[in-house]
């Protein structure tokens, strides 16, 4: 699909049954400024730079260590890639099968076209229980829909229980990483936040990570034990058994999945895998790629309702919100294969320097740069999400790290093409690119263009290097010289030494 097609779709003359971009009522999929402007601020934040550098360096080393332990890592990656591709090719049928299994085991399945619909369903369900507080375990899907805002508007307090998520919530911040939404904070800042925002906190709290973890335990313990409603996301859902799973570390997930009377799970439709045995692949790929552990401390799986054990009411909300729009693109749909391990973020030299907030969307990093603009569609030439695919040097580190072999570099190129297609008027760059293409297919003109290089020699003067260039090339020359063009091009050298041409 071209960018023009997508832009047209955004105008919401939506036909029934047609793939549709996400609704984004709380602007969690789009920032307020383009990537270069947001990155400008992030790059100047020395604390942020240090925190991110330290955290990503740590996790890269851990990941490399545990990946090297498996001699069949490449085979696992290929299997993961193929399972996801197969899932996408059969997604509607698998979802119907999955719905049937969940229902048969006592779960209630709801479908949501977009963010508002998902929020409405969850808010109504919570209201039905009479609860005014819910405990939540990290879920990208509910961050995407802005469920917390919707619950708050309905008078329900949503308590994030994942430590990093709690830090983000307490500091009224935004998440900047899949796995560790507060990766941009260091221990001293976390201590500060806890002292300021936790009513019952020990005033002698130190910044020792163990003490900080204990403070979170104390803060949440009573509320877990009294919780009536839990809200969760999903890591993997199994179509042929109706099994759902949550992969976590702290035990907050187990608390949310086990203690409340009612469990509401919000799941993007792409989280499905066809069979139970597919988990043997993903439970190896995910922990090693994500926290760099052989296995994360806790993985919970459940299917529907189990009498006498855990919540006796289980609701599952299946969310589209733009996923159909991504699925409609033969190459772009690979973005739906993502298992949110964050390995691509951790190895990305751009992410490491700018952090997640610069991407605007709650899906940051390399995968976010291709997923966010596909979920939202690119809404004309000034859509800030159109800057995301350019936020990469195409170095390819993300592909090597991705446990399901998503070809992010190729997708970035493809999304750049979509962004270019969304230009409604020709930009200076469009004109330059067209002119260059003509020169590059007409050898005579190419030689002529090369002769213009003499201008560069004049610019360089006797110094032999060029230190200032006009906009837009000034970005280059602010930090880098450019050599003076040579006195003789290769072509001229060849003619002089080998004759001809």
């Amino acid at each position: 699909m071209t960018g023009h097609g997508r832009a047209a779709e955004r105008s919401r003359t939506i036909e029934l049954g047609m793939p549709t971009p996400a609704s984004d009522p709380h602007r969690h999929l789009r920032g307020t400024e383009g990537f270069p402007a947001a990155a400008h601020r992030a790059l100047a934040d020395t604390q942020l730079r240090r925190n991110l550098g330290h955290a990503t360096r740590t996790i890269r080393a851990k990941r490399a260590g545990v990946v090297a332990e498996l001699d069949d890592w490449e085979e696992l990656r290929r299997a993961g890639e193929a399972i996801k591709a197969d899932t996408m090719a059969r997604l509607p049928e698998l979802l119907v099968q999955f719905e049937e299994r969940v229902t048969a085991r006592g779960g209630v399945v709801h479908w949501a076209r977009d963010a508002e619909e998902a929020n409405r369903i969850v808010v109504d369900l919570v209201r039905g229980t009479g609860a005014d507080e819910v405990v939540k375990v990290k879920s990208m899907a509910t961050q995407e829909t802005g469920l917390n805002e919707a619950l708050e508007a309905a008078g329900v307090a949503a308590l994030e229980t994942d430590l990093a998520e709690l830090i983000v919530q307490l500091s009224h911040d935004r998440p900047s990483h899949f796995l560790v939404p507060a990766i941009h904070r260091n221990r001293a800042e976390i201590r500060e936040i806890f002292l300021r925002e936790m009513p019952d906190v020990d005033p002698d709290l130190t910044d020792e990570p163990r003490r900080l973890a204990m403070a979170a335990r104390a803060h949440l313990r009573k509320r877990f034990l009294a919780a009536k409603v839990g809200i969760s996301g999903v890591n993997f859902a199994v179509a042929d058994t109706g099994t759902l799973s949550v992969v976590e570390s702290e035990g907050n997930g187990r608390m949310c999945l086990t203690l409340p009377d009612t469990l509401i799970t919000v799941m993007g439709v792409e989280k499905l895998v066809p069979t139970w045995s597919d988990l043997e692949v993903f439970l190896q790929l995910l922990p090693r790629s994500s926290t760099g552990e052989r296995m994360n401390p806790y993985t919970s799986t459940w299917a529907g309702v189990t009498p006498g054990d855990g919540p006796q009411a289980f609701h599952l909300v299946l969310l589209d919100n733009g996923r159909s729009n991504v699925l409609a693109d033969a190459q772009g749909r690979q973005a739906l294969h993502c298992i949110r391990c964050s390995a691509c973020l951790n190895v990305c030299p751009v992410y490491e320097r700018t952090g997640g907030h610069a991407y605007g969307s709650i899906y940051p990093g390399p995968i976010g740069a291709v997923l966010s603009p596909q979920l939202t569609g690119i809404d004309g030439p000034h859509d800030v999400n159109a800057t995301l695919p350019f936020a990469s040097s195409l170095c390819g580190a993300c592909f090597d790290a991705c446990p399901v072999r998503i070809d992010i570099p190729s997708m970035l190129v493809q999304q750049r093409a979509a962004a270019v297609d969304a230009h409604t008027r020709r930009t200076g760059q469009d004109v330059a690119m067209a002119a260059a293409a003509i020169a590059m297919t007409t050898p005579g003109r190419f030689k002529l263009a090369e002769r213009a290089l003499g201008v560069g020699r004049v610019l360089a003067g006797r110094k032999g290097r060029i230190s200032t260039l006009p906009w837009p090339l000034s970005g280059w020359s602010n930090a880098r010289d450019l050599p003076a063009p040579p006195a003789e091009t290769f072509r001229q050298w060849w003619a002089r030494t080998h004759g001809g041409t």
Binding site: F390, E450, P472, D481
Partner: protein
């Protein structure tokens, strides 16, 4: 062997010393080198900036020019650039297929099969690691992203460098991390690119090398441009130039960023 050289647009116009060294090296090794004069550019800049439609005629032109060279008896095509070969091998057919031109896609794939980056040609095709070079300098090697991850040249350039007489090879910290060039990335996201460049330069400087080499003039232009701005006293030299150097033809004076003082 009869080898056609891709000068690359950047090599032709701005950094001719890399393709020149490639030609001289291959001729020294006893091969016949030809230069298909109608060549222009592989189209990488268009592709990577998202101009896939505009890239189509550029790709077609490249495929045709080198297709004719193969027809005229050329055995292999070489480019002293990992990213240009990466574009030929991984992007040409994609651009053609996207435009629905399956014939061009096939032709592109056929051409790509016999198109090599310099270290690949030397080690894999010609089977040499000691090319008889002499280069008495302390050198560190930056494995460019496209050589490393698109072409997977692995340690071939290092094998070649280790066999160079007089050369002291020193390790580069975090070598596999991108230098921040990324084509138009360095202009569109100049500040992020600069932050990446700063770390690369720090690694180069702490290696105490006097020369930083790589298989791609574009990355060298970036790293070298930064080192030159800092007047760091470290220069960037293309791998081909090092391999072309002999005790009778030391190219160590080829200081790109001080060209005015060096060349006529």
């Amino acid at each position: 062997m009869r080898i056609a050289v891709v000068a690359t647009c950047l090599g032709d116009a701005l950094f001719p010393q890399a393709p020149i060294a490639t030609v001289e090296l291959l001729e020294r090794l006893g091969h016949e080198v030809v230069f298909p004069a109608d060549q222009t550019c592989c189209g990488q800049m268009h592709v990577n900036t998202g101009y896939l439609d505009a890239a189509l005629p550029v790709v077609r032109h490249h495929v045709e020019v080198f297709g004719q060279a193969f027809d005229a008896g050329v055995d292999a095509v070489v480019a002293p650039s990992g990213s240009c070969v990466g574009c030929v091998r991984h992007q040409h057919a994609m651009v053609a297929r996207r435009a629905g031109d399956e014939g061009l896609a096939r032709a592109a794939e056929q051409g790509a099969e016999r198109t090599y980056e310099l270290s690949e040609l030397l080690v894999d095709v010609l089977g040499v690691t000691d090319v008889g070079a002499y280069y008495p300098h302390r050198v560190t090697y930056h494995p460019t992203c496209h050589s490393l991850r698109m072409l997977r040249v692995g340690d071939k350039p290092l094998q070649l460098l280790r066999a160079v007489r007089g050369l002291e090879l020193v390790e580069l910290a975090d070598a596999e991390v991108c230098c921040g060039f990324g084509g138009t990335f360095a202009v569109k996201n100049a500040e992020t690119s600069t932050a990446m460049l700063a770390d690369k330069m720090a690694a180069v400087l702490s290696s105490k090398a006097e020369v930083c080499t790589a298989g791609d003039s574009s990355c060298l232009m970036h790293i070298g441009g930064g080192l030159s701005r800092l007047r760091s006293g470290v220069r960037t030299v293309h791998l081909a130039e090092i391999l072309a150097s002999t005790d009778r033809d030391d190219r160590s004076a080829d200081i790109v960023f001080d060209r005015a003082e060096v060349r006529p």
